[in-house]
Amino acid sequence: MKIMVPVKRVVDYNVKVRVKSDNTGVELANVIMSMNPFAEIAIEEAIRLKEAGTASEIIVVSIGPKAAQETIRTGLAMGADRGILVEHDADAEPLAIAKVLKAIVAEENPSIVLLGKQAIDGDNNQTGQMLAQLLGWPQGTFASDVVVGDGSVNVTREVDGGLETVKLNLPAVITTDLRLNEPRYASLPNIMKAKRKPIDMKTPADYNADMATRLTVLTVEEPAKREAGILVESVEDLVSKLKEKGVI
């Protein structure tokens, strides 16, 4: 079976993001960008399914600026087979992304679309679910375990109270949570090999996609800062302070 893995190029998770002084967004100039960590987990899971003989081909897809080629290349170096970049420079919302992905699914016919539960920039947590609904497919979000069966897949999900397992008819959409796996580092020979793997360059127009945004960002601000409090000398001191505040 084919597995399609949509990935996003985002500000690296180690970067402390700064709000721009004019409050129009966050500072993106000269900031390290890398693959969304949840997308990395999705690629790793796809590769493991290929290594187990379940998957035959892994296609990495990204919708973003030309530089997102590097992000796709990272996935190819990890072990994916080929890439598709739908070049789009402006911000795109999850619904528009889901519509482009739906069009790519129609061409590629994957059995599983495996992607991150959310991108760590917009924190929307929507694209996988929207794609599943547009396709009429079932979904297994926040996956911590994936077991592919005959015509179905069991997905164990991280939910508020613990873990829940659902059985989905294939084809299906699966979104990854942090504990699904630990992504591998690409080896140097594989990085070299990845340079020769193909990336198809596309545009939203190739899929008749409307990329217009529905949301306007009016301002982006720093969150309210907390004032540092006081150091107490002893446990007794702490308990009396908390009693004064009436919280215990």
Partner: protein, 308 residues
């Protein structure tokens, strides 16, 4: 103008996060609740008593015994007509099915809002809470998930809404529930507890969590953990407070042996009073703590238990 609010429940009780969603929905005037469940009459009765609600729609069907996204999206869509806003708490259930609703209605979803500025404009955290965006939607219908810590809870008593039974939406039938491993505890749930005591990597082992559990039992508190403690295998993942775990805002949050990584702060910095106990006086947690105690937790936590 009116809003439809999805009731999060376990077929027995209404979950607290629903009450915050009801508060957010007041901006749209008339508030209708939807209870989709199986043998869920007690939930419908409780929902009808929530203050500020005019009507409760109840879809009681085996298809809704477990919160499958495909089925919940279908039942919400079956009644969605005519509401200006469709709102759910941003729990793992709401986050799971609401984007399906938005996709079918061909509208953007506004996730995890912390404030309703006006009926088309909202505040929501981005970049793990390191920035707050104010966004305005051009869609006629607003599909919204609500971060419970951003809103006061509507009173769970005082309302007298009418209850109306609706038919099931017809099973979608492409997914099924296999099972669950839910944590069972006599302590309150993290997301609704008034007091939380959390342990970090400094706890050293899962066994040592017994120290903070004893304090939790004296205070009637929930027990949480940092991602470092979860990754180290001390406690299960559903204990995790932070960007990748639960977002909490209790009256009192006690962080024990937690350094205060950004990812943890993102999950608890809206708590009313924060206490930090850590032997490293340079730990970033002290920069957000109202009361800090620089001490070895293995001395301080038993002393705290004894002092309570």
């Amino acid at each position: 103008m009116s809003a439809l609010v999805f009731v999060e429940h376990d077929n027995t009780e209404v979950k607290d996060a629903t009450l915050a969603a009801v508060t957010a929905a007041q901006a749209y005037g008339d508030v209708t609740l939807l209870v989709a469940g199986s043998d869920c009459a007690s939930v419908a009765d409780a929902a009808a008593k929530i203050d500020g609600v005019s009507k409760v729609l109840v879809a009681d069907d085996a298809a809704y015994a477990h919160p499958l996204a495909e089925e919940l999206a279908a039942v919400v869509l079956s009644v969605a007509d005519g509401y200006e806003a469709i709102i759910a708490p941003a729990t793992t259930t709401g986050k799971n099915f609401m984007p399906r609703v938005a996709a079918s209605l061909d509208v953007a979803q506004i996730s995890d809002i912390i404030e309703v500025v006006s009926t088309d404009t909202f505040k929501r955290p981005i970049y793990a809470g390191n920035a707050i965006a104010t966004v305005q939607t051009s869609d006629a219908v607003k599909v919204i998930t609500v971060r419970a810590t951003g809103f006061d809870k509507a009173a769970s008593e005082g309302g007298a809404a009418t209850i109306e039974t609706i038919g099931a939406a017809g099973a979608v039938g492409i997914s099924s529930y296999v099972g669950a491993e839910l944590s069972t505890s006599d302590r309150p749930e993290l997301t609704s507890a008034k007091i939380i005591i959390s342990g970090g990597r400094g706890m050293g082992s899962g066994e040592n969590f017994a120290l903070i559990e004893k304090v939790a039992d004296k205070l009637g508190a929930a027990v949480g953990a940092s991602r470092a403690a979860v990754d180290a295998g001390f406690v299960p993942n559903d204990y995790q407070v932070g960007q990748t775990g639960k977002i909490v805002a209790p009256e009192l949050y006690i962080a024990v042996g937690i350094s205060g990584a950004i990812q943890h702060l993102a999950g608890m910095k809206d708590s009313k009073i924060i206490v930090a106990i850590n032997k490293d006086e340079d730990a970033p947690i002290f920069q957000v703590a109202d009361f800090g105690l620089v001490a070895d937790l293995f001395d301080a936590v038993p002393a705290l238990e004894a002092a309570l």
